[in-house]
Amino acid sequence: MDIASSRNNQQREIRLCLAEDAWHGRFRAMGSPCELVCEAAKRADALELTELIAQEAWRIEDKLSRYLDGNIVARINSADGKPVGVDDETADLLDFAETLYELSERRFDVTSGVLRRVWQFDGGDQVPDPQSVRNILQYVGWHQVDWRRPVLQMPRGMEIDLGGIGKEYAVDRCASLIRTRDGSPSLVNFGGDLAATETPRRRRSWKVAVEGDAPEEPERMIDLKQGALATSGDARRFLMKNGVRYGHILDPVTGWPVPDAPRSITIAAQSCVQAGMISTLAMLKGAAAETFLDSQDVVSWCRR
Amino acid sequence: MNRMIGLAVVVVLLSAGCSSMGVEPWERDVLAKDEMQLTTDALEAATDDHIYFSKEASSGGRGFGGGGCGCN
């Protein structure tokens, strides 16, 4: 769910092809392959919608990427303890992040990105020593942030990363852009997080394949008529040491991976943001993920 | 051509002579009044420009020359 920027603007190109009765507009944004599946009759309409959402995805990427200089995230992260005023859209995202921090009992934390300095989930065995985790933990914790809309101030050394919300947010923004344009039924899919603008007309439902974690595992086919899907968990991102598998979901309270987290959770919800947040919250529950999901009124698929 | 240079010199002199003139920012109460704007009524100015453009051989000066014919 990181927003990795494609700094090279030449990568910002759009491809469009017709397959299975629908237009597929493809581009890359936020480190993921992005796709618009669209039932438009004309190629020009499909292209226009793809361009519309690609521009929006790239706009959000440029705004929230922690790899780009000069954007609002960079201004906050380089403020060196000074207050920074933010625009309305960023303020909305920060308000949302604050709500999630409270709902998750401090487990969902946009300041936890600095833990990446000691945790590198590359499939290797580089588990950090407990002292370095403790050292970095002083820079983690939304409660240390003074957020008074529209001004944010946090102690020197802390960083925020809105990448955990950004992709789902972009999916929902793009879907609603298409709806306000009265575009043909479309499915917005950014790297597996997706939303349907409405029920498709040429078939009963949108067929969504959720990849298996391992090559031998079958894809899971989901019929989506309306709403959105989001998946948390990535089987490729883990560390293995002394037979212990460390998943990439980090608990910002302990600084260590959440024990016994499912390998992946897919959630269906009204919006992609909701789906993504519930799946992330469930992941953070670790062994209690399924119990948590059962208590929530959501459609979920959980893989262990 | 000489006449053109003459005009340019006049404009430059006017602007050069001005650098020390003026008022303090808090002394603009009178200048801020509607009736002290260089064009107080854009519509009246446009009407006049159009009438005189149609009836005389000169036009513009204040702003652009104005287009359209509406001649005779």
Binding site: V84, G85, R148, P150, V151 | E24, W26, R28, A32
Partner: protein
């Protein structure tokens, strides 16, 4: 304009306002006595009834004044109108929930080196100018607010 010049200006303003000699002077610089508010962060906002962006700035100044009052923010709107009537009329239309002072002769405005209307100066708890801005743009409110918050958090440098 450099910060040090501002410091000097503030010192002058203070001296004129605070010292008994200045107070009995026939031409005091201003009625504004900043020393009363020592230790607070003060936003000094120069405004005039005839200034259009000033109308936009008042709701924001009101909001700041309320939001940060507990943390020691004091907003002072310095009116530079020549006649009290127009200022009063303006205040009826755009009510101020902060302190209004009057600077008829523009002495204080001159000492602050005011370049345009409105002009806002954020004075730190130590009496130094921490930030200032010319004009008022709604789209830059967040920057202005960040500057105030920054000043509020600065410790007095001894």
């Amino acid at each position: 304009m450099t910060n040090s010049l501002f410091i000097k200006i503030i010192v002058i303003a203070w001296a004129l306002a605070v010292s008994p000699i200045a107070a009995s002077d026939s031409a005091p610089s201003t009625n504004l006595d900043l020393s009363e508010h020592q230790g607070k962060v003060i936003v000094v906002d120069f405004w005039a009834s005839w200034c259009v962006p000033c109308r936009r700035s008042f709701p924001w100044l009101n909001a700041m004044s309320e939001k940060y009052a507990d943390e020691g923010l004091l907003v002072i709107g310095v009116n530079v109108d020549q006649d009290a009537g127009s200022a009063a009329e303006f205040l009826q239309n755009y009510p101020a929930k902060f302190l209004i002072e009057y600077d008829r002769g523009g002495n204080l405005a001159r000492e602050f080196g005011v370049q345009a209307m409105p002009s806002s100066f954020v004075i730190g708890r130590d009496g130094q100018i921490r930030a200032h801005h010319l004009g008022f743009k709604v789209k830059r409110q967040d920057e202005y607010e960040a500057a105030i918050l920054e000043a509020l958090q600065q410790e007095i440098v001894k």
